[in-house]
Assembly symmetry: C2
Homo-oligomer: 230 residues x 2
């Protein structure tokens, strides 16, 4: 980054594991949805151990040195320091030589689906969450819900057609594209938005049932297990 933190955490560069930064605490409705899950999941898929650095406030000047929008996760390894879950997942995959096919055409299609998840699907998933949760107190929120849901359903319809009857989005190999699509669609967990799309729902189930996802999710949720009040 151009403006490095003047007081970086002291880390032994020689022996460091990759570090994923995430929130020390989030409200109950956000648990299981914090985007560090994507970095954790990628690490678990490729067998890469990692450390977690917890922060209480992402809006500080220190954290914005690493994440200009004041969000999580950030990621650091012995060579790079980055934010943006899509780039982090790509980095973990490329570093390990896994989750991305070697064939040039299959490789760029995997990246294509990672980008599609983030740019062509996630905005619709986020729009309904923002409208129904974060903007629930606005005068227009209830009236707008139907339009937001209609747009999302149209997008899910197209995505289900693209998935067809294959196991993963580009065939029978699980890639970073699937990891990101499943994670983005996982943002609909607890809603009924996938009810009309059995193939997509099964696809998300298949992805979330992978041992690497289960481990990553359990680790995120364990972080937010409330201590019993004394």
């Amino acid at each position: 980054m151009k403006s490095p933190n003047p007081n970086p955490p002291q880390i032994c560069e020689d022996t460091m594991l990759p570090i994923i930064t995430t929130f020390a605490w989030v409200p109950p409705f956000a648990r299981g949805f914090v985007r560090d899950i994507r970095a954790r999941w990628a690490c678990e898929e490729v067998g890469q151990p990692y450390d977690v650095v917890l922060i209480h406030n992402a809006k500080t000047p220190e954290h914005r040195c690493y994440q200009p929008f004041g969000q999580v996760p950030t990621y650091r390894d012995d060579e790079v320091e980055i934010f943006e879950s899509g780039a982090i997942v790509l980095r973990i995959a490329e570093r390990a030589g896994q989750l991305i096919p070697a064939d040039p055409a299959a490789r760029i299609r995997a990246i294509q689906w990672l980008v599609a998840a983030l740019n062509s699907v996630e905005p619709f998933v986020m729009a309904i969450a923002v409208n129904d949760i974060f903007e629930a107190d606005r005068d227009w929120s209830k009236a707008r819900h139907a339009k937001v849901a209609e747009d999302l359903q149209a997008r899910l319809h197209d995505l289900e057609a693209a998935l067809g009857d294959t196991e993963w989005i580009d065939g029978d190999v699980f890639t970073v594209g699937d990891l990101m699509l499943v994670s983005v669609l996982g943002g609909l967990r607890g809603s009924q938005q996938l009810d009309s799309f059995p193939k997509l729902a099964s696809y998300v189930e298949r992805g979330e049932a992978r041992p690497a996802h289960r481990k990553a999710m359990a680790d995120q949720l364990a972080l937010y297990a409330e201590p019993v009040a004394a």
Copy 2:
């Protein structure tokens, strides 16, 4: 793709130039904003000639073989066939060995900014366009404008702070990250949303003043120059 078009255009594979697919016609308000500009711009930056295939309707089953969401652009070269402007720009850059630094850390930061443009900036740019243009006839559109603008302004504030006083987003080298950020912010052209952010506005101006962008934009606009009525 898993479901290739049963009737693909006949192309001589040996001599083919990369092909960018875009719309034969768009309404005046969309001219200069069609996302083929990103693919065109990347080709011009790296000196890669390309052909354009024009379609009248992106919602046909044939086109959805190449773009499941029924949008443009799509891209094809002698090795790959993809959609999603972020992946297309990355492909053009990697194929040419340009617009992406060779240093691993600088390389992934360039990709990080490309992803950030698409996932952390564009949804806010699109939200205000959708609210103010495509949803202008909804009861809630006017009342909602202030909230959408407030969210966008906050995001632009953070992005301007990240840009600081450097020429390009990661320093003095123009990369795919800049190409995508400038293109995404170009979506605000004609609005007053950048008025409070002189550094960002200058950044967009610098990007759009590059000869490669001027050529790409001129070529897109030439496509939509209306013939004089006979």
